[in-house]
Amino acid sequence: MNVIRMFVVAGIACALSAVPAAAQTATPKPPAPKISTATKEKAAEKNTNPDALVLVDFQKRIDSYMALHKEAAKDAPALKQTNNPAEIKTAQDALGARIRAARATAKAGDIMTPEIQNKFRRLMYPVVTAPAPRGTAGRAVKADVKEELKENSEERKEEGGKPVPLKVNATYPNDTPLPTTPPQVLMNLPKLPEQLEYRIVGKNLIIRDVEANIIVDFVPNVIQ
């Protein structure tokens, strides 16, 4: 009898300890802020929020990229209205080649520095982990993104498209679907100039130059 009671107590204890573990796997912890000492010191000096400085830094890096983009676009054939879509691709490739040459030494993290990446993860966390909206049909953003990614992956396999290389300056493959980025996610991220866009590729967020069809930089594992 005592043995049975011991088993029952042990079973209940195991079940109770398993619940928090299961909950943890269902919803990942929010990312903790990671701000460099230099930014913290600058924020203290200016009596401002360090997060605001991180976003200002992001904007400066994007502005700097856009200055380079515009310079490269001066010599490239302009994207213009055409009946021939091949001309759109030619113009994109030409601009892409010029930008690639102008930032040949660019590497991952030049724009999306570690503290900017951390800020992006924190901005996306509440949207990506939010439950489905109450009172309406529809699913949570994460489920929506997963469904779209599955659909994209199937389309890519059907059409024989290449996987997207997670590499700065790489061309986004023409035969590969452009995955979706839900508007709710975009609402929470800093706005980009219209030549650039965010796309969620797998678990990663990329910044794509629309006019040059190249990957400008990326945040890996942004979706847990």
Partner: protein
């Protein structure tokens, strides 16, 4: 003997195939001088479903000579090479393009924004734009994936200066939807609805959900979802209070006719069956009013299906 068999097969094909393509009875008035157009959404697959809808669309034009087609986004799925533009747009709609039918596209979440440079989409290189196909009617195409302050300002100004025209907005994501996959895009609704109400938008056409749904008028605005012109999520319409009529078991497109203050619509499947029809009536000129909460627009459904408050599921 061989000739007789051939004739028999030909006769059989004609009796089966031809009526299927032109069988639908039109419930739109087909009046001279009216504005006639079609609506398709989530089209760019290049597969047999896109082709069958395109075929039915072309067949319908024989009876209902629409002048243009509104595309509510996801115009090119998958790869977007030059071949993809051919396979997923130019070939399926060739008969219509050859007849001079114009297509006006909005960008969906799967579209490359560089599609705006493709002339047959008539976007003039812009992510958002407006066009006026006839006196008294103006369309506003928006990019609902990237709504920024600049676009909001643009739509506010454009709607404000469009006077007494019918104001028809079209974009990809639906502010109201009963879809189990996506549902209503409430963020977008928060951004756009006050502007639409302020300026008296009459009709909003969207896609994204792979089914057809006519929403009960919201603040006096008629909302339609037409996202099943090539893709379908069967049984995806959830039971909500939003649905006036829904159809999630087949591929569809809409035909629309504006006659004065009445807008007639009919939703047709690729098999030529009508799944919804009716009329949206607007009550005259609407001046911009910042504090307005609803528009004097009446949408009256005349569905061919039973139980208009419930989605149709087969």
């Amino acid at each position: 003997m061989m000739r007789r068999s051939f004739l028999f097969v030909l006769l059989l094909l004609l009796t089966v195939a031809v009526p299927a393509l032109v069988a639908q009875n039109l419930s739109v008035p087909v009046q001279n001088g009216s504005v006639k157009f079609a609506v398709i959404g989530d089209t760019g697959t290049g597969d047999k479903h896109q082709l069958s809808v395109a075929k039915q669309l072309a067949a319908t034009r024989a009876k209902f000579p629409f002048e243009f087609v509104v595309m509510v986004g996801d115009n090119i799925y998958g790869g977007n090479s030059a071949n993809d533009y051919e396979k997923k747009f130019a070939i399926p709609y060739k008969p219509l393009l050859d007849d001079g039918v114009k297509f006006y596209a909005a960008l969906g979440n799967h579209d490359d924004p560089s599609e705006r440079f493709y002339k047959p989409f008539n976007m003039n290189g812009e992510r958002y734009y407006s066009f006026k196909p006839a006196n008294g009617v103006r369309f506003f195409a928006m990019d609902s994936t990237y709504i920024d302050d600049k676009q909001l300002k643009w739509v506010d100004e454009q709607l404000g200066s469009s006077g007494s025209d019918w104001k028809i907005c079209f974009f990809h994501h639906p502010p109201y939807s009963s879809g189990e996959t996506h549902g209503s895009d409430e963020t977008l609704r928060t951004q756009l609805e006050p502007i639409f109400v302020k300026h008296g938008v009459n009709v909003v056409l969207t896609g994204h959900e792979h089914f057809y749904e006519r929403i009960k008028p919201q603040k006096g605005i008629a909302y339609f979802i037409t996202g099943s012109s090539a893709k379908l999520r069967e049984g995806n319409i959830a039971q909500t209070q939003l649905t006036a009529q829904g159809f999630d078991s087949g591929y569809t497109f809409m035909i629309v006719e504006i006659v004065g203050d009445d807008m007639y619509y009919q939703t047709i499947t690729d098999a030529g069956k009508t799944v919804d029809s009716g009329m949206v009536h607007r009550v005259g000129k609407v001046e911009p009013t910042p504090n307005r909460t609803a528009q004097p627009v009446v949408a009256s459904g005349r569905s061919n299906q039973k139980a208009p408050s419930k989605p149709v599921k087969r």
